[in-house]
Amino acid sequence: MSYAEFLGMGAELSLMAVIILLFIYDTFASSKAGKYLPITAISLLAIQTLYLAFGGIQEALLFGGMYSTTSMSNVAKIVLNIGTILVFIQAASWVKEDDMKIRRGEYYVLTLITLLGMYFMMSAQNFLLFFIGLETASLPMTALVAIEKYKENSYEAAAKYLFFAVFSSSLMLLGLSYIYGAVGSLYYTSIAANFAVTPLTIVAVVLFLAGMGFKLSLVPFHLWTADVYQGAPTVVTSYLSVISKGAAAYAMMIALMTAFGNGALDIWINVLYIVIILTITIGNLFAIRQQNIKRFLAFSSISQAGYIMLGVMACNNYGATSLLYYVLVYIFSNIAAFAVAGAIERASGKLNINDYDGLYKTNPKLSVAMMLAMFSLAGIPPFAGFFSKFFIFYSAVETGITSMYVLVFIALLNTIISLYYYLLVVKAMFLKENDAPIATVKSDGYTKTVVFITVAGIVLLGLVSWVYDYIFSMVA
């Protein structure tokens, strides 16, 4: 296969280049030059993103159809890149701390490797590549979770994440093996071609869903989420909660729509129906009671995953577009929340919601950012979250199936519960009287930047219709 075709996987190649460059830089840079690592990483990734956007990557089908690049997957990668850049900016002030200095290189490299894994996972047209991507994404993630290895809880979080990940992936492998046995191939297309509904294949599909359900933290495969989010460093948590979730959602959608597209449709539609209801509801119910902001966001992200899945259920262009759009908006909102939480945590070490009482008095900017993030997550106009939610519902109802109306209705009822607990945070920051609120936080340029960008995104992404239309044009 020629060099020209090879450029079809330009995304992965460029990312690998970035990784290698960073690795070299980190290894050979003097400790003085070392502190420019974050900005280097950010700019390199930014350049690579620009390349994805405007590098004219052709649609391609490589390695005998194992790997494919489509404009849609390209957009998805761009979305993830944007998220990663934001996380990097957020991380920059974190890796300056003393015990992180020596490990900052590892952080960036590992993160980018997971990103690479997600790339493969998203471009896969064969379950082997899919599986490799999945593991490439999750194993370095374990190291990231444990990166502050002397910190309280980090090892616990790492252990839970790792064992859970491997367990779920082994279940998924079992499912894949059955599919291989039943169909005789692991290519999406050929699976779709000769798939037959038998108890064996049903079990296989359900196991596959369970495996993905772990990454997306869908109920009942979600139980690791809160503990890991709480134990991991805030930056890693935000990465975990937005990027890997988004990637998994997209990859899962591709797999379900192509591999299990026609024959297995009513298997996973029915299963996912139940799972979505469980996810949204249980996530909300747990979120209500959380005090620790990171656990709180963990459960909120669980229920958000349920909403994302609605886009998968829709199983049409609107669904795909709305899913990507939702992920994008969700990236901005969640990272804003985590950035604020992280800044406050670094400054005061406080993570409980009722520590935020009267925060507006001392940190107006941070609290406003947090409030906008909460509103966006809750789906309050004119912030982006409202639009993404509306479009997700739109795409779900667009199928015209009555049961979809019911599902959307349940989801809508849950938005009320979610509004309740998002407002609890706002209440703590704005309404509560507190004579000793958290002292004014001196946040550095990086934090300011990320908060600014995310807030700008929250405000603009919805009102500026260009974004959605662009994604739509790429998908269709």
Partner: protein
Amino acid sequence: MEIPYIYYLVVSGVMFFAGVYGFIARRNMLAILISLELMLNAVDINFVVFNRYLYPCQLEGFFFTMFAIAIAAAETAIAIAIIINIYRNIKNIKSDNLDKMKN
């Protein structure tokens, strides 16, 4: 005479669920790790057997198994590292102690 492939599947199934049982029942983290290995290898057997008996004219299953083994190895390495880390911190590797964060 040849062993019918269903026997292999029985073996692999037993292995897998033994692994699941071990994962849930054992308290020592190394034991849990071993159970995980059992599960992964059971899956590998499946792939190989399906390939060998049902689709002998292709190699997909074999390749999958190889990658799976490699990944399992990597995963074991990380797992051991983490277990050591845990041991450093709390001086034992009982899984019961991993419940600081709950509810």
